[in-house]
């Protein structure tokens, strides 16, 4: 197991490195700089600013300087908001986005798995069609459509739920979490249905029934272990998706989270901000993917043995 973990970690390092490098050069190569669309600035002042932010150095020197700072965990100062460092902005937004993501994930897993398992128990009946059609709606209605619709219905027409902010008014976390979580609930539902159907058609389920085990025992103790592996494997991509989804949801609901800062930084050409956020988020995504791959492999005793160096 350890060998597998280490080898995957080692593979992750070059990936992160490529991300950092590519982002760095891409951002620098873009036409226009961070100060171009400000009000007209005297050339000397512009030069001074550029010197302060090291923009006057040759590109490769900027790069190495950046890497050095990175190694010590310093993501640099923000261009757009002088006086505030990227680290500061990042970490102010992180808890918000993390909480949003967590709620969305919980909604996705709880609703998704329950719906999927229920559907798999009686395939091709109403018990199957109804949850799966709802799941299809969830997949086909993107968050930037669902969000505004929910706001329209619950916020404006019915006026029962708040439509912006996070933590300011009680209940303002409900709509954003549902918006972000529903697409993933849909994916999880389909995945768990497919996984359970596959498992329930296996011979060992028939053996379990032949032993006289009650149906609930058969489904839960024998079925779930294998049936939910696809869901665990999906957690990695789901995490990346939730992060991307947060860009939209935070914009719609005016939530001061990482996603919104990232989008703003992208518009404002705030180099260090873009770079810092990309590096940070990418690292998180890579690690999360790794964790979910490892977890999915661990759940299968056959694969687990393989990685421990045993025979299979």
């Amino acid at each position: 197991m350890l060998r597998f973990l280490l080898s995957r970690l080692l593979q992750a390092v070059p990936v992160i490195f490529i991300v950092i490098t590519a982002t760095f050069f891409l951002v620098r190569m873009a036409p226009g700089g961070p100060f171009d669309d400000e009000k007209v600035v005297l050339p000397e002042v512009k030069r001074a600013l550029e010197a302060q932010y090291k923009l006057d150095l040759p590109l490769h020197e900027q790069y190495f300087a950046y890497l050095t700072d990175l190694a010590s965990g310093d993501l640099g100062p923000s261009f757009k908001y002088p006086g505030r460092s990227v680290n500061e902005i990042l970490f102010s937004g992180l808890p918000v986005t993390a909480e949003l993501g967590l709620y969305a994930l919980i909604i996705a897993l709880v609703i998704g798995v329950t719906a999927g398992v229920i559907a798999a128990l009686k395939p091709n009946t109403k018990q199957d069609y109804i949850p799966m059609t709802l799941a299809m709606v969830g997949i086909c209605m993107p968050s930037f459509l669902l969000g505004p619709l929910l706001v329209l219905v619950f916020g404006i027409y019915l006026e029962v739920l708040p439509i912006s902010g996070w933590g300011a008014i009680p209940g303002d976390k409900i709509l954003p979490s549902i918006t972000l979580g529903s697409a993933y609930a849909a994916y999880v539902a389909r995945l768990s249905r497919a996984g359970m159907l596959e498992v329930l058609s296996q011979d060992y389920i028939r053996t379990a029934r032949a032993k006289g085990l009650p149906e609930r025992w058969v489904v839960i103790k024998h079925g779930l272990r294998g049936g939910l592996i696809p869901v665990v494997a999906f957690l990695g991509p789901a995490f990346a998706g939730l992060l991307a989804g947060s860009f939209v949801v935070e914009t719609i609901f005016q939530i001061p989270g990482l996603g919104r800062f990232y989008v703003q930084a992208a518009f404002n050409r705030d180099y260090t901000m873009i770079l810092g956020t990309t590096v940070f988020l990418s690292t998180l995504i890579v690690l999360f993917n790794l964790a979910s791959d490892v977890a999915a492999a661990w759940l299968n005793p056959r694969l687990r043995a393989q990685f421990q160096g045993g025979q299979s």
Binding site: T207, A210, K211, G212, W217, G226
Partner: protein
């Protein structure tokens, strides 16, 4: 009063293509402490009858149309699901065919083993564990405590089947239903498991309902044999009665299909066609450093016109040897000479020329034909590739090939999935013979077929062998089949050649211990199966 009495059972299935009657009025019984064997080929309804008894058939597509199954003075077919559940795993237990897929790979052996105890006898985990370990020992597992905590994938087929037997017997049932429990096992292991079942049955006085397709296998252990065909019982009786004086034509057909007798070689085959010298085919898997020595320094000769039977169990390397000779497996060392030319050196066009002279017939008729090509396409391919005939004569040629292999010409535009297993194998044989090869490797060509069809295909192969003057390497795990068809025999074990000799020599005076154990595992010995 019988232990189990099946009376006029009727079961049907509703599929996309309409309703099919799987079981059409079947009656038989199992007596206390006796073994009743139900024999039939695919489609006979033997498994469906037994699964239906315990309510293990999914009832939407399946439906019980009538009949009674009396056990313990109750009609099982009328019991509710929860009443049936109380019986399953407690009074009636079941073991299945494929031990690989029948155990939950995600749970330890122990976890699965104690479940029947926890559910039916309400024991606590510690007591259950102790009982389970006792039982593991009883079924012949050597380190029961360690096995208890291990996962199924760590064990071989034979061991897994022992675990399944332990799991079935743990609650001391009065009836054991065994659905083809040895079909998926190697011959020597099969003999062990059969003996285990017979011993345990006697020791515990259980009634056993043994389902199989193989008359020879049950001949040794059954008290009563029931023969089924197409959903009805056609004959029943003691093994002796069935074997010596069968009454129904189907029973007779089954008996005739058992390969018997030794091939009488009339001509002297002494001119070698193929020489294999110290052949090594080793595989290097990516996740470990030790190579898999599938074929490990094997040397043998195959003479012109003879049928060399290559016999061994799974993992012996017999299939790999056949494939290596045909250059279908990567050779790591040694040489193969075909009619004087070293095959291991050939590539490209040279190799293509030799491919015309040697062909292969594969085991699985479902997988060896391209599902998207018609019979015409499949047979035309080799003919066109090697320029055997012109495009104009193609239809003629193919038609005559079909005649040779016994396929009705009207099927020429049909696709593989529209044929039965036996017909598909005929198509595969036709494809192999299209280029009029000198040498054919037949890799378990009949193992995937029903017993009666097996006999037909074996006869076909023998006739065609004579007609085309073929030299054949016949690979099989089935000693009875080999005895029936081979002139000389080679025995393999774990990649190495154990013994070679004429059929007579091998069967009557085997020199190696392994060969002897193989011979001892041939089922039907107890009934003194005829040898001539």
């Amino acid at each position: 009063m019988s232990l189990l009495n099946v009376d006029n059972l009727q079961v049907s299935f509703t599929t996309r293509n309409g309703t099919q009657q799987a079981v059409r009025g079947v009656s038989f019984s199992v007596e206390e402490a006796q073994i009743t064997a139900v024999i039939g080929e695919s489609g006979s309804g033997k498994s469906v009858s037994c699964y239906a008894m315990l309510g293990l058939i999914p009832m939407p597509p399946g439906r019980i149309d009538g009949g009674r199954v009396i056990f313990d003075n109750k009609n099982l077919l009328e019991l509710s699901e929860s009443e049936l559940r109380a019986i399953r795993g407690k009074d009636i237990a079941m073991i299945f065919q494929d031990p690989m897929t029948c155990l939950n790979p995600f749970m330890t052996i122990g976890e699965q083993l104690i479940e029947p105890l926890l559910i039916h006898k309400n024991l606590n985990k510690t007591v259950a564990k102790a009982r389970a370990i006792e039982l593991l020992e009883e079924v012949g597992i050597r380190s029961p405590a360690k096995t208890f905590n291990s996962f199924p994938h760590e064990f071989s087929g034979g061991m897994r089947q022992r675990v399944m037997i332990a799991m079935a017997l743990i609650n001391e049932p009065r009836l054991l239903i065994a659905d083809e429990p040895t079909t998926a096992l190697d011959v020597t292991i099969q003999a062990q498991i059969l003996k285990l079942i017979a011993d345990l049955q006697k020791k515990r006085g259980i009634g056993v309902l043994f389902i199989s397709h193989d008359l020879a296998v049950v001949a040794d252990i059954a008290d009563q044999i029931v023969v089924m065909e197409q959903g009805v019982v056609v004959e029943r009786g003691t093994p002796k009665a069935i074997f010596e004086s069968p009454t129904h034509p189907y029973t007779r057909k089954l008996l005739d299909a058992i390969p018997t007798g030794q091939r009488q070689s009339t001509t002297d085959h002494s001119a070698p066609l193929i020489r294999v010298n110290n052949l090594k085919t080793w595989f290097y898997p990516s996740d470990s450093d030790t190579p898999v020595k599938a074929v490990d320094e094997v040397s043998l000769t195959i003479n012109r016109g003879e049928v060399l039977g290559l016999v061994g169990e799974s993992g012996s390397g017999k299939s790999t040897l056949g494939r290596s000779i045909l250059r279908l497996a990567p050779i790591t060392g040694g040489s193969i000479t075909f009619d004087g030319t070293d095959l291991t050196e050939l590539e490209g066009r040279g190799l293509k020329e030799f491919r015309r002279r040697m062909q292969m017939i594969f085991q699985d008729p479902f997988a060896s034909l391209n599902p998207r090509m018609t019979v015409y396409d499949t047979l035309a391919e080799p003919l066109l590739l090697h320029g055997i005939c012109s495009k104009r004569d193609l239809a003629k040629h193919i038609a005559s090939l079909m005649d040779d292999v016994g396929l009705a010409r009207g099927f020429i535009r049909k696709y593989p999935h529209e044929f039965s297993g036996g017909q598909r194998q005929r198509i595969a044989i036709g494809r192999a013979l299209a280029t009029k090869p000198e040498f054919v490797v037949a890799d378990e060509p009949v193992s995937a077929l029903d017993v009666t069809i097996q006999a037909q295909i074996l006869d076909l192969l023998q006739d065609l062998g004579r007609e085309y003057g073929l030299t054949m390497l016949f690979v099989s795990h089935d000693m009875a089949v080999i005895r029936h068809i081979a002139d000389r025999i080679a025995v393999m074990y774990r990649g190495k050649l154990v013994e070679t000799g004429t059929a007579e020599e091998i069967f009557e005076t085997p020199k190696q211990d392994y060969t002897r154990s193989l011979l001892a595992s041939i089922p039907g010995a107890a009934l003194g199966m005829p040898t001539a």
